[in-house]
Symmetry: D2
Subunit: 357 residues, 4 copies
């Protein structure tokens, strides 16, 4: 269950403090130019330690392609990518070895598997998402060829909402803020939490444009369903909205329906998806991250023997996981769309005839 | 892509106005007593025409088991169930045959497949969910054997929120209302929309209790991710929350973390899921449905030739799809949990030894 | 695990003596003309009771399409087909209810599932293959559109081998014999076995022509691997050969290699598959069926309590399952090729551009 | 499609002359002791260059575990293994760069993907099987815990058949010969082929003992079907037999049926599988490899422009691929059985109760 996707699929491996992490991307059509600089640039956006709003763990996150690319072009065979961990030995885990950090997966992993790699959360660490970003970069290269563009940025921190949506600005913001006028307030909220040894949550807005009509497979592999799965499956995510989301449920049919004209839809309450299938409009999703569970305040917990204890965290952690999470959201959206592009190839006989004639 | 689940899986077929619809449930362990009355009772909860808050289409939705059960017990082979459509010929679709109803999947199905069954939306109709409820009933029978209980009810209609959560009351409410004090206001909102030929949205609260620790498969088949996929994949759903959902993203780590004592978690902000794995607490999900797109107010649309036209709907429709949708949410949650129960059997060597010795 | 295929996939249900059997075919591209007469004609080739060389069980095997077809054309949604059992009540199973028939799956089903449907073998009966033939007929309709033709016939009965390969003759032979000069000897061998209350085995030759170069997905979904899985998974099959098969292993490289000229391959020892991918030549497979385990001679066995007993079969059975098995082999080959046709659509970027531009 | 297995699954990557090859093994239950020496010992059995009967390419095939193991024990998370290629730069491929080697996958890969990695066959090289052997070793460690043992050896070279079956002897034979009295004749056949610059084929016998009753999932994931898929999917394999194989098809029911006594089956013509499910007896399979297509004799072929040309191979190649292939057959059998062990956990409610109580 460490594989995502049906046709454009990737399988990840690796733990927070293991030797390496990485992925195998399977199903990349042959003939795609693999731009390694672009892949590394995506990695660099996600990598830790770039500002005080992120964990101070230092990782260069240099990705190396091991297979599947020949003379710079995909060959149709699996593309393996590896990222060696560099900064994994610097900590002492003796104080978490035997107990479960509140808000983390320590408790559930231990009970599910009967044992766990306690070093930095092991497999449950968000460090695994580095591999997703590498895979997502290849998905973006494929989508580029078809004119599909995916963007993501921060639309809310600690309840402070962006009003403007400016993806160009976001790309260069240290917190990927979509609204430059709100950005400083959002940064202040993070700084304040840091000062209090606490953490804050946030939300990410993802937009895909240039999406052809028809992506999404009914009934159980719908585009909105898969977006929800991918986003809710990210560490710390607790809610996903498509289009108007919760507000839609408080609207009326007469207002919420996107009426149609010969020039296109007259509104986009739906977020670009009807019946689980893209309708050609922008695909709009919001993803909500809880505050980082790692805080530097004493908390109550139990150890592996289920004995009560108090716990005081040491270490380095992101004060707001939504920030670097936004890069992962963008990668996941690209991965879903690339998969849907491939799946949709089989939708009608005309497509078969276009390929086989 | 008409199959859901990995081990406890079901595949559905059928259109709104075809001969029949149904499903094959594959992966049901042998030796489960199949209580046909219970299955039919679940069908009856979802079937249309029970009150003015629902479409007036009449379907008895009598389910017939065709295979997989011998002398009342599952045999481990696929259980096929069929529901014949009874009321499918009563309408004239001449006025929708050539055009796309706003808010419906007509537009996207036509463009994806190059043709469509225009009778009542064909496959895109929520009528397909009858098959899910049949499959979900079998899942509930399995969960019963392990002490797991799934409940669902309406927690919001047209923005009017329930304050109390009473699943016993909900079970007997015509609108599955969770709060008996708020119910009449919620009903009024629907009645008002009906009077205005409009529709309203709503939200469903789903609770699973008695869930063992350890359900959910990292990384790409997490419990929360699969819940999100299943719920967002339902017709008209636009948002899904787990636990505190969006509110969590506006909380602080110190408040949102569920601290742990030797007697269990001290709170349940997480909605019973940590790292995508059940933690033994109640699993709590909220699912938000948009207002029914079928309204009896003139709307602007285009036909298959992309010519502008106005459209005025005839027919019978639910004024608020969340109501009957709540039965489907319950079924989907049961189906996910049954699947996760089976998947989790392989988590550790001790389980293998328990089975093979 | 009752589903076959990745993209053109089908799921079957039903037991030998249940109410009905059938399948859901998922992944059929929209826009395919569904010729119901052709489907029924395939069913008729497989149905029992057509000659003394087959079981005398009478089933009309009338197939009914329940969904997925609108105005005679596939809509891209699941096509459900149902075949009601007619002749399932005629036998008394009291003498097999408690014991395991040698050579049958009674023993293994009972131990795997803890119980079993003893009526005619339940799910383990070859009657399940009726659903495969229905699905296979749809696959053949798709292949027809691309100029791919699949044929099958009997090339060996009781060790008596065909020398000529004439699929036209085979199509009209009561035992689907490929060699009209050998047919009578093959029939005699069956008649002799019948007289001795015994049974014989046989072999089926399957040929697919017009197959485009490129079908088959490395590494673990190769064309030859999938053919082997599909054929070996048929009841009573004990060996599968591709191309020269075992003889190839006794040849030398210099002789076995198919050299290549600008006009094509100079020989076809490979059976049309290189590296698991079709090379454009005819795909040739041989499938070997064991003699029917149902014989009318006393045999030693045990009952469910593992007590020794002797067993004397009553009932109706095919004296040589390879005969009707050949129709199923043809269906399975068509199903594999239809699936491979769809899977191969994603092999290169040029195909994507052909579809999305 | 580079993934094998449903629950105990592995995904491989890498080409003959790329940087590295390896695999991710997903689904290994937590709590399994991972004996790295055992894994390396299996690798050493398969690695090239151990005798004149194998290619002279030198690879140490040292496997490194990157993830999924903590303190020597599996954690339930994906186990990635990597093998760096060492000897991949030693050849000049200029003479094969533009043309298709007869009997190889060059032709089909080029046409399927539109381009190819011509260095040693790229992904189509049997070098990929190194990753299978690494994965298979972990499968064997799991099977050991349940008392299941898998063995394989050479039963035929160039048509010269073994008469005795001695797996202990085979383990130490340079050609893994099962019959020490026939071994020298088999070696002579290879030596003679080498002298003639030609190659020979062979066959592998695989035996699994200690297999519990009940492994194998009807209908489309039967044990025999999956064995056939795995074996036929190996490079150069052209035939697979289960139990008596082709001989069974020439037998009679009265002779071929394995009658049953309270002490077990009275014979094992079936090869330990009934209805696709293990019956507790030894599982017996024979796998037939064609002669190595790489021969040092001039052959006719075409280039990428489909122009006729003659071709004379240089390089290093196994004169008989069945020999090292036998190690891969053993690995694949172990992988199938490990997968089936996990899948079968869900067969009956009693198993669920054993795990969840």
């Amino acid at each position: 269950m460490n594989t995502f996707g049906e046709k454009f699929k990737f399988t990840t491996f690796g733990e927070s403090h293991g030797k390496a992490l990485g992925c195998i991307v399977d199903g990349v059509p042959a003939g795609l130019k693999i731009d390694e600089e672009f892949i590394q640039a995506q990695m660099d956006k996600r990598k830790p330690g770039k500002s005080k709003f992120e964990t101070s763990r230092k990782e260069s996150d240099k990705v190396e392609i091991l297979s599947g690319v020949f003379e710079g072009i995909s060959t149709g065979t699996p593309i393996a990518m590896i990222i060696f961990n560099e900064n994994q030995k610097s900590r002492d885990y003796s104080n978490v070895k035997d107990l479960f950090r509140p808000g983390h997966a320590d408790f559930t992993y231990f009970h599910k598997y009967g044992l766990r790699d306690y070093r930095g959360g092991g497999r449950s660490s968000a460090r695994e998402t580095a591999a997703r970003v590498a895979a997502g970069a290849i998905a973006q290269l494929l989508l580029d060829q078809l004119g599909i563009k995916v963007q993501a940025g921060i639309c809310e921190i600690a309840g402070i909402k962006s009003e403007q949506i400016d993806f160009e600005y976001s790309a260069n913001s240290t917190i990927f803020a979509l609204d430059k006028d709100i950005e400083s307030k959002q940064k202040d909220a993070i700084s304040q939490a840091l000062k209090e040894h606490d953490s804050v949550g946030g939300a990410v807005l993802i937009k895909a444009s240039g999406v052809p009509i028809g992506l999404g497979e009914p009934m159980y592999h719908k585009l909105d369903g898969q977006i929800a799965a991918a986003m809710m499956g990210l560490n710390a995510v607790k809610a996903v909205e498509i289009g108007d989301g919760i507000e839609a449920s408080r609207s009326k049919g007469s207002k919420n329906n996107d009426q149609i004209s010969s020039k296109g839809f007259l509104s986009n309450h739906s977020g670009g998806i009807l019946g689980g299938i893209s309708n050609g409009d922008d695909i709009i999703t919001k993803v909500y991250f809880k505050p980082t569970p790692s805080i530097f305040i004493e908390q109550q917990t139990v150890n592996e023997q289920n004995e009560d204890t108090n716990y005081y965290l040491k270490g380095r952690h992101d004060p707001c996981v939504a920030i670097r999470g936004s890069v992962v959201c963008q990668a996941m959206m690209a991965l879903i769309l690339a998969d849907m592009v491939l799946l949709n190839m089989n939708s009608k006989m005309d497509n078969l005839k276009a390929v086989y004639n």
